[in-house]
């Protein structure tokens, strides 16, 4: 939980910056925004147009009560705050979705993850939220900003979903809701931690992702690893510790030989190869891993939230872990 301390510092200084709110501004740049606002019903709600400074230093005019929001790959946060976006992240022509969120996003149309300008424009959004600076690389920002006010949440895509949730909450003046959501989560995590400890003591666990006949293992402090080891207090196997110290991404490739040394008591297997026969799981090396031998292996499909991060994703992960470990 206390990882990313430095980043937190940077982020909170951004938040402080962002707090310098302004009421209505009539500078020339805001012409399009004001026009957008005119289209809205005259029912004046409490909130007004505000100017926030995003992670890249843009001054972004957040319209009062944005209605059509595009926040690709930030949907978890929006849903947690009770906001429905105008379009949702997808890959492969809408074939790949964040399945675990579909209960909430059933009727939301898809948008390709690379966010082509015209597709974005076709939704006539009144607010665009980008999860990181990479999405607006090569001065694409200016063009998105011409479609609608565009807010970039982070410069580097870091893995701290709590900060992300708070930043998104800040944009919608829902900081209190965001904090509340976090409180509920921490409470759930603490309770679940106790339940798990009562059930398996201080045994260790690892999350392994099988895709295209390759195994990947989650690092200690990121993604579902942060949930397992950080929030739920499961012991970290030494192989995971070793790999985490040099890992560049959330999931690191791991060879079957290395897996054989895995000293985890429990394995959570996210199987993206279900349809393809998952030949790797028939390999004797895999079969001989202690956790597999002892039947302490819990299989999840790719449609579960294990590969994602966010309060909803993580809550679902916790539910799964508790269920698996208290059988």
């Amino acid at each position: 939980m206390l990882n990313n301390k430095k980043r937190n510092g940077i982020m909170s200084s951004f938040l402080v910056l962002s707090l310098s709110l302004a009421g209505c501004s009539d500078s020339g740049e805001n012409v399009t925004q004001t026009k957008d606002n005119e289209k809205k019903p005259a029912t004046e709600e409490l909130s007004t147009e505000r100017i926030l400074t995003d992670a890249m230093g843009h001054e972004v005019t957040i319209p009062a009560n944005p209605k059509h929001i595009i926040a690709s790959y930030l949907e978890d946060n929006l849903v947690a705050l009770g906001i429905t976006p105008a379009a949702q992240w997808s890959i492969n022509d809408g074939a790949g979705l964040q399945d675990y969120l579909q209960v909430y996003l059933k009727d939301v149309p898809t948008i390709p993850s690379e966010l082509p300008f015209e597709v974005v424009a076709s939704f006539t959004p009144d607010l665009i939220i980008m999860s990181s600076a990479q999405e607006v690389e090569g001065s694409k920002y200016d063009q998105y900003a011409k479609i609608a006010p565009t807010y970039v949440v982070e410069v580097e895509n870091n893995s701290d979903w709590r900060e992300k949730l708070l930043s998104v909450g800040e944009i919608f003046e829902k900081t209190d809701e965001a904090k509340q959501v976090l409180e509920v989560y921490e409470k759930k995590a603490t309770e679940s931690k106790k339940i798990i400890q009562d059930s398996i003591g201080s045994e260790s666990a690892a999350a392994i992702w099988l895709v295209n006949n390759n195994f990947y293992i989650v690092s200690e402090n990121v993604s579902s690893g942060a949930v397992l080891y950080g929030d739920l207090g499961l012991s970290t196997p030494s192989v995971v510790k070793e790999i985490s110290s040099t890992a560049t991404g959330n999931w690191s490739a791991i060879s079957l030989e290395r897996l054989a040394e895995l000293d985890a008591d429990h394995i959570f297997l996210i199987n993206s190869d279900k349809g393809n026969g998952a030949e790797m799981l028939k390999d004797p090396v895999w079969q001989n891993i202690p956790a597999v031998k002892n039947g302490h292996i819990y299989e999840y499909g790719a449609e579960t939230s294990w590969l994602y991060s966010g309060v909803i994703a993580n809550t679902q992960i916790i539910d799964g872990v508790v269920e698996s470990l208290t059988k």
Binding site: P116, E118, A133, V136, G138
Partner: protein, 345 residues
């Protein structure tokens, strides 16, 4: 006397024919331009496009045409022109039909420079865009110097065949260096580099146009002014020296111009291959090999090719987009093989 008259007459006829062909190519670009303006995720009728072009459209139509489609179309045409003329010059100075900025490793050199830059200064969002062509030119230039000096022999100068072989070898080396580099990139940067390498021009905007335009506006007329020199070089080194051309010097200047054109184009478009090869070839079939006609014809063919490829790429898999480079490669690869098979005979 009569004979001479006849000769100038046929020459005159050929000239008129070539001018007409060049005019038709220009017209085709205009047609492709109109079609491309109509192509995209948001449907606009031709009438709406024309109304918007004259400033009568809605705000949204204006945004789509002037901010999203127009810069991209212009970039496509400019990149096509730059690469095709670059290829034309390289084929001229190496007297080899297979020379092309891609094959000679110049594109790869430019790509490596851009990639190094991206991996060391990851937040390119803040990078001044005009820097990219300069960097690419630098990378392409270094590569060209390496190739040139490796292919140079004191008493023989540059043999076209050696130039090409060295180019292929250096290109292979740079490509592997790039692969090693991609392995070290973060997933996000990798995504950016991968799209860039595939030759996607979808992120283009007016800044890119402005950063590329000066290179094209200066270098293509310059190359055009050297058309006679290219004609002479085409005759072979001995004849050319006999005719009084200082071969090595001219060759170096032209090589630098070709490198500049390719580097600047590649910096905004990424790895669009084959245009530098096919553009000049198609043009040669249309107007013959006199560079006075060949250069403008190659420029127009190249521009048309990339514009059509990008328009197709936007249209085939809507709402997703196929990078123009891949479309060009799909058209280009078979043509390349066809060329190779003809060379064997």
């Amino acid at each position: 006397m009569k004979e001479k008259n006849n000769k100038t007459h046929t020459q005159h006829r050929a000239k008129t024919k070539n001018l007409i062909i060049i005019g038709v190519l220009g017209l085709l670009i205009v047609v492709a331009f109109m079609i491309s303006m109509n192509t995209g995720f948001i449907k606009l009728t031709p009438l709406e496009v024309i109304r918007t072009l004259f400033g009568l459209g809605t705000e949204k139509q204006h945004l789509i045409l002037f901010e999203f489609r127009l810069p991209r179309i212009i970039i496509a045409v400019l990149v096509g022109m730059g690469l095709a003329v670059s290829g034309c010059v390289l084929q001229g100075i190496s007297r080899n039909a297979l020379a092309d900025p891609g094959i000679l490793g110049i594109n790869a050199g430019a790509g490596l420079a851009v990639m190094l830059f991206i991996s060391f200064f990851p937040s390119t969002a803040a990078t001044p865009v005009f820097l990219l062509p300069v960097l690419a030119f630098f990378g392409a230039g270094v590569t060209a110097v390496i190739i040139y000096s490796l292919a140079y022999k004191r008493h023989e100068g540059i043999s076209p065949m050696r130039l090409l072989l060295t180019g292929v070898a250096v290109a292979a080396g740079i490509s592997s260096a790039m692969i090693v580099l991609t392995l070290r990139l973060s997933p996000e940067n990798y995504q950016f580099v991968a799209t860039w390498l595939a030759g996607s021009i979808w992120g283009s905007n007016w800044k890119f146009v402005l950063s590329l335009l000066p290179w094209i506006l200066v270098l293509i007329p310059f190359v055009f002014s050297k058309a006679r020199v290219l004609n002479v070089l085409n005759l072979g080194d001995l004849t050319a020296t006999g005719l009084g051309a200082s071969i090595e010097k001219e060759r170096r200047i032209l090589l630098a111009a070709a490198v500049g054109l390719a580097g600047a184009s590649v910096s905004v478009s990424g790895g669009i291959g084959f245009v530098g090869l096919i553009g000049p070839h198609l043009a040669r079939q249309l107007v013959g090999s006199r560079h006075q006609f060949l250069i403008p014809a190659a420029a127009l063919t190249g521009g048309l090719l990339v514009l059509v490829a990008d328009t197709l790429g936007r249209w085939i898999l809507q709402p997703s987009e196929i990078p123009a480079g891949i479309v060009v490669a799909v058209i280009g690869a078979p043509y390349f093989l066809y060329l190779l098979s003809r060379l064997k005979d």
